[in-house]
């Protein structure tokens, strides 16, 4: 096995002790930090604005990072990463590397069922009848944290984001047309009225606000 020599470490950033360049790992690490946790692809302009760096510099760094993860650097070859940084529709995001798709798929499918859990069904029901609604409000109604269930429902395309609450800024959720399709109705208005099932739901609003 060749012990390949890496002649030099990555060139150090120009001495910049202000802003992100001064942090451990520098601007490149700052980009990695953001990209590791964002869900939606982010543009170089958004990144440049937040990091207070020129867009050109950010684009350069992004390309360098992408190349590095693929195994190529200015100072020689490195181990390719299991993730890649890709620019999709103008935005940058981390993805798992295509080579590993079989492994990742088997991991994703492991333990998956074709059925929603009771908790997921009930959360979906609350969202259907209270839409558009924030996760916090659904949590208050259900009495438990619903973050992961909401993720599952989104993944299953049964619900989707519907803007932000004007006051709290929280993301609001609504049901999708796929949901209507699965339920076999045309519009949300066709959902059966709740009244016959539950007298006294009218003042539910008070309860919710009070309890959260």
């Amino acid at each position: 096995m060749s012990a390949q020599t890496e002649p030099e470490g990555p060139p150090e950033e120009p001495s910049a002790d202000t802003g992100v360049e001064g942090l451990p790992g520098g601007a490149a690490a700052a980009l990695e930090a953001v990209l590791m946790v964002v869900d939606e692809p982010v543009t170089a302009i958004q990144l440049a604005t937040t990091l207070m760096l020129p867009v050109g510099r950010v684009e350069e760094l992004l390309l360098e990072l992408a190349r590095e993860y693929d195994g190529y650097t200015n100072w020689g070859p490195v181990r390719p990463r299991g993730f890649e940084l890709r620019s999709v529709a103008g935005g940058w995001r981390f993805y798992s590397r295509t080579d590993f798709a079989p492994v990742v798929s088997s991991f994703v499918l492991e333990g998956q069922t074709a059925r929603l859990t009771q908790a997921a069904m009930e959360t979906l029901a609350v969202i259907a009848y209270r839409q558009p609604v924030s996760r916090a409000r659904v949590s208050a109604i259900r009495g438990v944290n619903v973050d992961s269930v909401v993720r599952t429902l989104t993944q299953r395309a049964l619900i989707e984001e519907a803007g932000h609450d004007p006051e709290s800024g929280a993301i609001l959720y609504r049901t999708t047309s796929y949901f209507l399709e699965r339920l076999g109705i045309g519009t949300v208005e066709e959902l059966p009225k709740l009244a016959p099932h539950l007298p006294g739901l009218e003042n539910l609003g008070d309860f919710e606000e009070a309890s959260y």
């Binding site: 946790v37 994703v108 998956q112 029901a125 259907a128 959902l191 009225k193």
Partner: protein, 307 residues
């Protein structure tokens, strides 16, 4: 005794009045009135540290005055107290007052049972205070840890499209009506957690002191002295033993029985000294059986039976 069961009985013994049970009132922003304090222990700790006193050495009596004037201040704000919370403040205030009063008396001698009870109350208060302080300290550590951890963000992204597409097609069996039923159930206001902890289990099965007094009375009136051991030989549980013991104390106070004990911890013998015929357990003071509204509903029936 219907004390909020959150309180160790020994601490609350002095202050039954403070714990008058009632349906828990609506919660009316009690936390707000506590200002910076999250409870009586917090307040007490605050006062102790204000005076730079060592919690393990301080005589709690030193901060009693301030503690009491603080809750008086709260009262004067005129809002309704949440009883179960107020009671805890009052319990502690009562204990502190006792300790303060004890300090005014010549010290160093433990003379009677009251002194001992006072010492026990003080030790319990210390123990609870120290315990509370320990939790307060670790909660501070936890809070700092949480804050520090909040500067890390987990990768929490939705599944890449091509993997999401692999998920098995959802099996959907709900009709709109079934779905509505589910929604109705999910939207139903959940029973608010009871603000008062049920005491029913503590009294089951209920044992009446009067009833036990009646049994003891009947046996002793036959004329032969009986040992305490004999008197409880047929008791079918600790509660009955306790009730019989309390009944004996009551009967002793009423002067209908007398105790003989040859040596400390030796066999306790009880003999009848009261009137032969017309004694009834109904004449006992009503300290045990009649107080709390929280007592089991069946109690009236029992009184009748005891007659």
């Amino acid at each position: 005794m219907a004390l909020p069961d959150a309180l160790p009985a020994a601490v609350t013994a002095d202050s039954d009045a403070a714990a008058a049970p009632e349906a828990a009132p609506a919660r009316a922003g009690f936390e707000v009135r506590l200002e910076n304090f999250t409870g009586p222990f917090d307040l007490l700790l605050g006062l102790i540290s204000k005076h730079e006193l060592d919690i393990t050495e301080v005589s709690l009596a030193q901060v009693s005055g301030e503690f009491i004037s603080y809750i008086r201040g709260l009262q004067q704000l005129g809002q309704e107290w949440a009883l179960d919370e107020a009671s805890e403040f009052l319990v502690i205030a009562a204990t502190l007052l006792d300790l303060k009063a004890a300090r005014l008396l010549p010290s160093g001698e433990v003379e009677n049972d009251e002194d001992i009870a006072l010492l026990e109350a003080r030790d319990l208060l210390f123990a609870r205070l120290l315990q509370y302080r320990a939790f307060k300290e670790v909660s501070g550590i936890m809070a700092r840890r949480l804050e520090q951890e909040a500067t890390r963000f987990p990768r929490l992204v939705s599944l890449e499209g091509h993997f999401a597409a692999l998920l098995p097609e959802l099996v959907w069996r709900h009709t709109p009506e079934q779905f509505a039923e589910l929604a109705a159930k999910a939207l139903q206001p959940r029973e608010p957690a009871p603000t008062e902890v049920g005491l029913a289990h503590l009294h089951a099965p209920p044992v009446s002191v009067k009833e036990q007094a009646e049994i003891i009375g009947n046996r002793l009136q036959q004329g032969r002295p009986l040992s305490f051991r004999a008197l409880i030989s047929d008791a079918d549980g600790t509660l009955v033993v306790v009730a019989r013991f309390l009944a004996l104390l009551e009967m002793f106070r009423d002067g209908v029985i007398a105790f003989d004990q040859l040596a400390p911890l030796a066999e306790l013998t009880v003999h009848w000294t009261g009137p032969d015929a017309d004694w009834s357990s109904e004449s006992l003071s009503e300290e045990y059986d009649d107080g709390p509204a929280a007592a089991p509903a069946g109690e009236d029936t029992q009184h009748e039976r005891a007659d």
